[in-house]
């Protein structure tokens, strides 16, 4: 048994047109764990998964999956992995059962053994009653379950889940989370999942890596990452006419690491609840008013903000998968020490405008 189910070092990938998707990504996934690759859209998560699943090759760097080199032994890697990509990759013109049987055939399963495995998976994912209906008639949640079942048909050692719950309603998402947790717990499967839902990584992953603009900016357990942030997060929503910059200036003494996004100010303080009165007083003294003030324990969103100088939602909305990606000079972690401004939400400003 190998200790690491996935080991990648210094993966670099530039797409035609100069889009630098990966600028040296290294990850190590211990066997039998759930590993979360977290980052906004366009951060390089999917490209990493494509390299690890032999779909594409890196320009440089090396990766081993289930003990096999992805470049030199792609066929061995392919037999050891199960993949569930972003799209619900099921054949709509075939039934659920036919989809699973073809998938089993591709991995060399035959006859009674295959039929038994298919029945088992249909049962496990609650698809037995619809097994003989065309996948076209399935709901999005059912197609996703079939999709995951197809990835498991050949009992892989490592399962890749690329954005497994994107586009699912909350109920289907909760079901999928329960399923993913039990896969690792009950079957000793190694699961590498990518997500841009912080909550998902927080709930499912034993280890989290945060990627941003093609680089790893943080790695550890979710708790480790959060504990590096001391104190609580405090979010101030400004009332209609208050100027965000004036508000930031007024709060400089009360909060640390203040970041502005639109009409929202986020900052840190050692004891959130006790800081609220002084925050309100400081705003009041500056002639400004708040629509709301929220105190929260540190979340992965705060970790991300601290590391990249952008809130997760802002980075996600930017969708930096175009030509702008990657030319932002210094590694994103340089935004970490100070507080940052993301007032206009455009990408260059997001990485550049670190407050004095």
């Amino acid at each position: 048994m190998f200790e690491l189910a996935v080991a990648a070092s210094d993966l670099v990938k530039t797409y035609p047109g100069g889009v630098r998707a990966l600028q040296g990504v290294s990850i190590a996934v211990p066997a039998g764990t759930v590993f979360g690759l977290l980052g906004p859209n366009g951060a390089g998560k999917s490209t990493t998964v494509k390299i690890l699943t032999t779909l594409t090759r890196p320009d440089s760097g090396e990766a081993r999956v289930a003990g096999h080199d992805v470049a030199r032994e792609p066929d061995r890697v392919r037999r050891a992995i199960g993949c569930v990509f972003q799209k619900h990759a099921v054949d709509l013109e075939a039934t659920g059962r036919e989809n699973l049987i073809l998938q089993g055939h591709l991995y060399g399963l035959r006859g009674a053994d295959l039929r038994r495995r298919v029945a088992e998976l249909l049962d496990r994912f609650g698809l037995t009653t619809v097994a003989n209906r065309l996948a076209r008639t399935y709901s999005g949640g059912m197609q996703r379950k079939l999709d995951v079942a197809m990835g498991l048909v050949h009992r892989p050692e490592v399962l890749f889940l690329d954005e497994p719950t994107t586009g699912l309603d909350p109920e289907a998402r909760a079901e999928m989370w329960a399923e993913i947790s039990s896969l690792a717990r009950d079957e000793g499967l190694t699961v590498l999942l990518t997500t841009h839902y912080l909550e998902e990584a927080d709930r499912l992953a034993d280890q989290v890596v945060i990627v941003d603009r093609g680089r790893v900016v943080a790695a550890g357990t979710a708790d480790q990452l959060k504990s590096e942030l001391h104190g609580d997060a405090l979010v101030v929503e400004l009332a209609g006419d208050a100027a965000p910059d004036a508000a930031r200036a007024s709060l400089d003494g009360a909060l640390r690491e203040i970041a502005v996004h639109g009409r929202t100010l986020r900052g840190r303080t050692d004891d959130g609840p006790r800081a609220v009165p002084s925050v309100l007083a400081a705003l009041d003294a500056a002639g400004l008013s708040a629509a709301s003030v929220t105190v929260s324990r540190p979340s992965l969103d705060d970790v991300y903000l601290r590391l990249t100088g952008r809130t997760f939602a802002a980075a996600d909305a930017d969708r930096p998968d175009g030509a702008g990606e990657g030319r932002g000079g210094p590694p994103a972690a340089s935004g970490a020490p100070g507080s940052a401004s993301d007032a206009d939400g455009t990408e260059p400003a997001a990485s550049g405008a670190v407050a004095r």
């Binding site: 066929d75 990759a89 054949d91 013109e93 998938q103 591709l106």
Partner: protein, 255 residues
């Protein structure tokens, strides 16, 4: 069964099964050549002096070739749908051979070609066409039609993998299929063609298949023509299959 044979067959079965689940589509793919045969037959019967005086018999092999050309031109649609749905990525991360995907698509298309060919020949016979050349040359013609169909299916698959969108595939296929049809003796005797078209037709694979088909009308079959055209079509089909496997690599590089 060895996986070398089994793998393509799974994809063939998948394609045929999907086709049979659309009975209206099947009906139209069979109805269309029937309409062409009867329509062109009625239209040109008194215009085109066919060498044998039996224009329907003369036209039948032409319609067989035309139908094979058109239906195989759309082969690449399957790859485009699979790529859009994410099914292609799923297949590419499995241990399945890339060649099996191509072979499976070709075999599925040629099942369609065989059924269409049988229906058109049957319809021709039913409406009075006679083929004195005999069964052997008829089978040779069916074989040549399948080879031409396979060549065009590969061409369509290659374009699909390079162009990636249905719209551009439709454009690229039409650009080739219609001119190749009319630069041949598909509908009219070679003697009827302008000199330059006749010269071009000699290099046109569509015309090679038509020439073999016309031997069905001869009482004394020229097996030299049948053999040379069949060999040329086989070479073309192989070259096109190789080309589409190259296109697969280019597709995968850009994923």
């Amino acid at each position: 069964m060895s996986t070398l044979v089994a793998e393509p067959l799974w994809f063939t079965a998948r394609g045929v099964r999907a086709l049979l689940r659309q009975p209206w589509y099947v009906a139209f793919t069979l109805l269309q050549p029937a309409v062409w045969l009867l329509l062109f037959g009625a239209l040109f019967e008194h215009v085109v002096p066919s060498p044998t005086g039996d224009y329907l018999a003369y036209l039948t092999p032409g319609i067989v070739v035309m139908t094979a050309l058109f239906s195989n031109g759309w082969a690449g649609m399957g790859f485009i749908t699979d790529a859009e749905r994410g099914v292609m990525d799923r297949l590419l991360v499995s241990p399945v051979r890339r060649g099996s995907l191509i072979a499976g698509s070709l075999a599925h298309q040629q099942v369609t070609t065989l059924v269409q060919t049988a229906v058109i020949l049957g319809l021709g016979l039913a409406t009075g066409a006679r083929f004195p050349g005999g069964l052997a040359v008829t089978l040779a013609f069916v074989g040549c039609t399948v080879l031409l169909g396979a060549a065009f299916a590969s061409y369509s698959n290659a374009l699909a993998l390079l162009l990636r969108t249905q719209e551009s595939l439709i454009g690229a296929v039409n650009l080739v299929v219609l001119p190749l049809s009319f630069l041949s003796a598909m509908l009219v005797p070679t003697e009827f063609l302008p000199g330059w078209i006749e010269a071009v037709a000699g290099w046109n694979p569509v015309n090679w298949a038509v020439e073999v088909g016309r031997q069905m009308l001869a009482t004394d079959v020229d097996w030299g023509i049948v053999g040379s055209r069949a060999a040329a079509l086989a070479a073309l089909a192989l070259a096109a299959a190789w080309l589409s496997s190259r296109a697969f690599r280019s597709y995968q590089r850009s994923v």
